[in-house]
Amino acid sequence: MHELAITEGVVQAVTERLPGTPIACVHLEIGVMSGVVADSVRFCFDLVTEGTTLEGARLDIIQPAARCRCRDCGAEFEPDGMIALCDCGSADVAVLAGQELRIRSVEVV
């Protein structure tokens, strides 16, 4: 359940950046290959924001799809799940997208 620590990291970053400012909405980007489960972050969010300037804020999460490039044949492809395997059989791939773990923006009250 590292999503608890991840969600605490979000609250900490926002409260450090905007101390004392009530927050209405937080926009996150959690890629499908990031290793973080968006639903678990949603589950933790209300718990972790209690008593902070983010209490009651809406949580908006976009989940960028995964995109890889094969280092052997150069093909770009969308992997099926967490195992990035090119059609040519190579597993030597660069992940171009899908590992995002970012706070995009917040809306203040």
């Binding site: 359940m1 590292h2 608890l4 620590a5 991840i6 605490e8 990291g9 979000v10 609250v11 900490q12 970053a13 926002v14 409260t15 450090e16 950046r17 905007l18 101390p19 400012t21 996150l28 290793g35 973080v36 972790v48 902070t52 967490m82 195992i83 395997l85 190579s90 597993a91 030597d92 773990l101 970012r102 706070i103 995009r104 923006s105 917040v106 809306e107 203040v108 009250v109």
Partner: protein
């Protein structure tokens, strides 16, 4: 959670060498903030604009910050501290019971003096593992994460303060036994070593790809038990190649000593 900053470190306890005492009898007194764990507006956000922004009512404020940015900064501080002293730090990870502590006990006895080995132990509770490592003749600090399922860079910074490893030595950080959560958290290590034991089954690399993708070395442990378990080493190696084409596999047994000279040499080569 820490009432000062909401950092979630409450419940984390660090025991330095000589403080191992009876398990579970030292509660929450050492959240000391004597390291890079900065408080106050903007302090931790090096290079960020001043954090006191005015006239924001009803507006969107761009943050565009990696959620793990703070841990990553602290990990870089750890890495700089370790590198400046020529200390090789290894992040040792596996599921619970794969044999991390047993491997380190034997490593401490057989190669500890030559490597200048010290250990940071991570567990949810108890100082049992640290006591085993200490009995093997090795300086050790124990971190109890409380509710936490992984070590993070700020915990390791506190462990480093307690342990103070010597220049040119090898530091092994035994992470909390867990094949999921520790994968995401950089501690400032130079290398990641993942244990996969023959009693767990050969399918672990493809079932836990995030963990094995980041491995520099995979130690296949308990190989003395191969005659008694249904473990396909060929399948394990093939699956690992799908996840991490560059990872090296080293078969070892901390019971018989098989393969351990190669492990000691692997550590030794990286300290030069």
């Amino acid at each position: 959670m820490c009432a000062t900053c909401g950092c979630g470190v409450a419940g984390v306890r660090v025991f330095g060498p000589g403080q191992l005492g009876p398990a579970g009898h030292d509660h929450g007194t050492d959240h000391s903030h004597d390291h890079e764990h900065a408080h106050g507006p903007g302090q931790a956000d090096r290079g960020q604009p001043p954090s006191h922004e005015h006239g924001l009512d009803g507006r969107t404020v761009q943050i565009q910050q990696n959620i793990l940015a703070k841990n990553d900064r602290l990990a870089e501080d750890n890495r700089a501290w370790l590198t400046a002293r020529g200390i090789l730090a290894v992040n040792l990870m596996s599921s619970p019971g794969a044999g991390k502590t047993t491997l380190l006990e034997r490593t401490a006895r057989e190669a500890g003096a030559g490597l200048g080995l010290t250990v940071i132990e991570g567990d949810q509770e108890t100082t049992l593992d640290a006591s085993r490592i200490e009995a093997a003749g090795c300086a050790v600090a124990q971190i109890n994460t409380g509710a936490g399922c992984h070590l993070d860079a700020s915990m390791v910074a506190r462990g480093l303060s307690a342990l103070n490893p010597s220049p040119g030595s090898v530091l092994v950080i035994e992470n909390v036994g867990n094949l999921v959560c520790p994968a995401l958290f950089d501690l400032g290590e130079a290398a990641r070593v993942v244990l996969s034991s023959v009693t767990e089954g050969a399918d672990k690399p493809i079932k836990y790809p995030q963990m094995f993708r980041g491995a520099d070395l995979v130690l296949l442990t308990k190989v003395d038990l191969l005659p008694y378990v249904d473990f396909d080493t060929g399948r394990h190696a093939r699956d690992l190649k799908l996840i991490s084409p560059g990872a090296q596999i080293m078969p070892v047994s901390a019971t018989t000593g098989e393969g351990l000279p190669a492990w000691y040499a692997w550590l030794s080569e990286r300290t030069r």
